[in-house]
């Protein structure tokens, strides 16, 4: 037995090492995701028998006005979230100084990222509170009445997205700060000798070196926007009347609260396709960098 192990240890050990992680990840994550795609072709209440309905769930979905509201909201999330990388870069540039005491300042800027999204949701619900929130106070100071943002179908999504942007900007800021730390000083110095300053320095010398960071920041921001669930759930529960729902939240509601698992799976499938396009692009870029051809 020992000699057998010894002779085959070249591949036996690595296989044993890989097995637990790979199996767990495949069963729980990969296989589950595939199974969802299958469930989306059935009608199912989560308990009884599943009955095959073909693409009926998808047809129903494409006739569901709530689906379009959710999709539209996801797009609003995506578009507004794109403000996170530039804002993060701006704050990173602001605090990019070697001064005493600035470390604490930087740490405090990261705070929203470390808090849970639920906590951020609570913080902003309180902030937006039309009677007593800080926002209301600001409006009152200007002799105006504060809008009830979270119960106004027209503004509710924007209000939630702004709350979501808070930790996202922190995230981008961390990435850019690390990127700025890693800049090639000799390039900056050379550019300074050549007389570059301010915006020209940023555009021609600094940003080109931050390409990789930029890519990651945008990737993480896109994923964050498409994954938005916690904030919606905590701040509005998708309301009023589903007007702030997103695909992730609608899917959860349909399945867990209305027991329409097949229908929920179909929504998840649509979300998956949108995300898959993006993941494919990301993996393509990552592997290209891996092979050193980027």
């Amino acid at each position: 037995m020992h000699s057998l192990l010894h002779r085959h240890r070249g591949w036996l050990w690595p296989t044993l090492f890989l097995a637990p992680g790979v199996i767990l990840f495949w069963v729980v994550i990969v296989a589950s995701s595939a199974e969802s795609l299958r469930i989306s072709f059935f009608q199912w209440d989560g308990l009884g028998d599943m009955s095959w309905v073909g693409v009926d769930n998808y047809i129903a979905l494409f006739h569901d006005p709530q689906f379009y509201t959710s999709l539209k909201n996801n797009i609003i999330w995506l578009v507004l979230f794109m403000a996170a990388p530039p804002l993060g870069l701006a704050i990173a540039l602001l605090v990019n100084q070697q001064l005493r005491g600035l470390r604490l300042v930087k740490t405090l800027f990261f705070m929203p990222l470390v808090m849970s999204q639920v906590a951020v949701g609570v913080v902003f619900t309180w902030f937006y509170d039309p009677a007593n929130g800080l926002l209301a106070l600001v409006f009152r100071a200007m002799n105006a009445t504060a809008p009830a943002l979270l119960s106004d179908p027209q503004w509710v999504t924007v209000a939630v997205v702004i709350a979501g942007l808070w930790p996202q900007v922190s995230f981008c800021m961390i990435l850019f700060m690390a990127g700025l730390n890693n800049l090639d000083d000799s390039q900056i110095e050379a550019a300074r000798v050549d007389g570059a300053r301010g915006f020209r320095m940023l555009y021609h010398v600094v940003l080109p070196q931050l390409r990789q960071v930029n890519f990651i920041a945008i990737a993480i921001t896109v994923i964050g926007a498409l994954r938005s669930f916690d904030m919606v759930s905590v701040m509005t529960g998708g309301g009023p009347f589903g007007s702030s729902s997103v695909l992730a939240y609608q899917m959860y509601e349909e399945s867990i609260q209305s027991y329409r698992f097949g229908y929920g799976a179909a929504i998840a499938a649509v979300l998956f396709v949108i995300m898959a396009l993006f993941i494919a692009w990301y993996l393509y870029r990552m592997l290209r960098i891996e092979r050193g051809t980027a």
Binding site: L18, W26, V27, L134
Partner: protein, 283 residues
Amino acid sequence: MYPRQIGAGEPVKKALYLTAVTVVLLLWLLPLLAVLMTSIRPGSDIMMGNYWGWPSSFELVENYLGVFTQTPMGHYFFNSLVITIPSVLGVLCLSTLTGYVLSRYRFRGNILLFAVFVGGNFLPFQIMMIPVRNLTLALGIYNTYLALIVFHVAFQTGFATLFMRNFIAALPDELFEAARAEGASPLQTLIHVVVPLVRPALAALAILLFTFIWNDYFWAVVLSPSDSVKPVTAGLANLMGQYAASWDLVSAATIVISLPPVALFFFMQRHFVRGLTMGAVKG
């Protein structure tokens, strides 16, 4: 605009700069400051509509004690620890193994396996929600700690594998060649070479994972709906519904549930930032 470094001989500029940064920071943290303020004022202030004025008295101790005595937050807090700590340890073990193999062994399918780990990590949770819920039901662990632990370990292994693989791949080849030349088996190499060398990476990863898992809300709602196993995130969401008028309590609870990750972050900031930005910055 790429700012120049402020030199030591420019005290006025420095003072102006620090003032500006502080103002921006205060604006940035305004929503959080509001919650902090609310968490230390008495409930009567809120009844009276004194939300933003000077507190009539400081009720820091009362409010924070109240979180634990008047609400089940203490129990949720315990649940969160029971879920988070074993999950973090599990992921650290699994990802050290997978990261080691994927970074140090060349075999067909290596890149594919790696891509699945990375890609799976980006999947929307909803695409796996129903089958994962069914799986925990079938295993009889639905609505237990174990359901959340199993899911978190599985899911975070994706990200952690990316992390550990990149870290181990950046270690010098010769250390591993030397181990082989000295006759160390893969298991011995793992124990005597890999584990000691990746310790700093494990520290960074542990903090990240703790934050991710502690802050999870979605799976808490899906897999552990009952109060007995609910973690703090789901607990706080409940609290907001039940104690809608007691903003002093809700605010204090918000601060309480944020404390563990924030404290970890404060004490091990370097690890945290390095963890989050690994891979993002090189290349």
